[in-house]
Amino acid sequence: MNLDQQWAREWVRLAAAVLSEHRLELVSLDREIGDGDHGENMDRGFSAVTGKLSQLPGEASASDIFKLVGMTLISTVGGAAGPLYGTAFIRAATATAGAQTVDSDGLVSLLTAARDGVVARGKAEVGDKTMVDAWTPAVDAAAAAAQDGSDPAAVLAAAAQAAEAGALATEPLVAHKGRASYLGERAVGHRDPGAQSSALLLRAAADAAAGA
């Protein structure tokens, strides 16, 4: 079944809930190798998004929703995560502009545009121990699933699973971007908080589609 604006709304609702639930986990990951504010920042950003989304008319498209999410995150999430996630959602809004529903190929375009936004903004590559280490495997897995004829829910499930594996795989890495890059070898053994929050976000997208 193709995904519509109901799915986009549900994704945001679940993302806000899961980020609130995992706030302390993200704070603790960020304390190890960053400045310790990632959990608070993401929770604050998505709380603000939830408030604004309730004022958006019910007929607002997925693209409208993503744009609102992006602009709100940029304005309310302190630190690098605001511009990074904000740019991701704004690029996703552009990728879905004018579409009533999103099919499997449309989802791949959406995820690719979001990932490309993160890369353009942060200039990180795979292996730099950043959120890109969750996003790029997710995009690749989504593309492979769509190629095999999977429906949108299955495409998102594949993306979420790959993002989780990608986040886990940041643990042995030395960081080359972001605050953790100042730590050198001391970052080894710690999971990147941005990759972890990316995995949580993509899992929320998959759960929203599974329930649709």
């Binding site: 940029i74 605001g82 511009p83 904000g86 972001g178 605050r179």
Partner: protein
């Protein structure tokens, strides 16, 4: 003369950003400068809204130069530029040491320099030593004067800024002990204190007026004595 280039300082701390305006303002009283420090609720971080407001506030059509502190300040500034409403501002982020770059950019903007020269001035702060001094130009002919610094602070801070501003009003290349007379940081890094001997020179025909004006300024003691 058209309006000067505007400057925006983006820092994780509102105090740092405001302090930069304070320091730079001393040498560039008429340049439009804005601080964009801290988050919207004055916590440590950067604000998309503050950066956007700052750009709009200082842009008078001659362009805006932004200096940033740590990584996410650059991400916020880049995002603010990309989504600026209304669009169409000429905005550049310069990678330069914050304090030295801010002062150098402000002094260049004060002279009415175009945006490319303001950027170059800020970037010149990336050099720890004045490279120009190691490579003296072949002086054939030209005009030079040797004067002694009599003022208390020598060629530092405010006097140096005054000197650079005057040098920029002449269209000819002039050097101070072989360093470009228009480079604030180049001159300041010569470390010329009170009592030092200074050679002001121009190899260009027509450079004499500029050399005389600058030598007279040095001999005047910059009004501080």
């Amino acid at each position: 003369m058209s309006a000067s280039v505007g400057l925006v300082f983006v820092s994780h701390s509102d105090k740092v950003a405001a302090g930069l305006v304070e320091i730079a303002r001393q040498m560039a009283p008429s340049v439009a400068m804005a601080a964009a420090g801290g988050t919207d609720d004055q916590a440590v971080g950067t604000s998309f809204q503050k950066v956007g407001d700052a750009i709009r506030a200082v842009n008078s059509g001659s362009g805006v130069v932004i200096l940033c502190d740590l990584g996410s300040a650059i991400l916020t500034a880049e995002t603010a530029i990309e989504l600026l409403d209304p669009p169409g501002h000429e905005v550049h982020i310069v990678d330069a040491p914050l304090v030295e770059g801010a002062v150098a950019a402000a002094v260049a903007a004060e002279t009415g320099a175009p945006v490319a020269e303001v950027i170059a001035a800020a970037q010149s702060a990336n050099r720890s030593a004045p490279d120009d001094a190691k490579d003296p130009p072949a002086a054939a002919g030209g005009y030079r004067r040797i004067v002694t610094l009599t003022n208390r602070d020598g060629l530092h801070a405010r006097p140096a800024a005054e000197f650079v501003k005057l040098a920029a009003t002449f269209g000819v290349p002039v050097t101070v002990n072989q360093v470009d007379a228009k480079s604030l940081l180049g001159i300041m890094s010569l470390g010329l204190v009170s009592g030092a001997t200074v050679e002001i020179a121009s190899d260009e025909s027509g450079g004499a007026a500029a050399v005389d004006a600058l030598a007279d300024l040095v001999e005047s003691g910059f009004g501080e004595k």
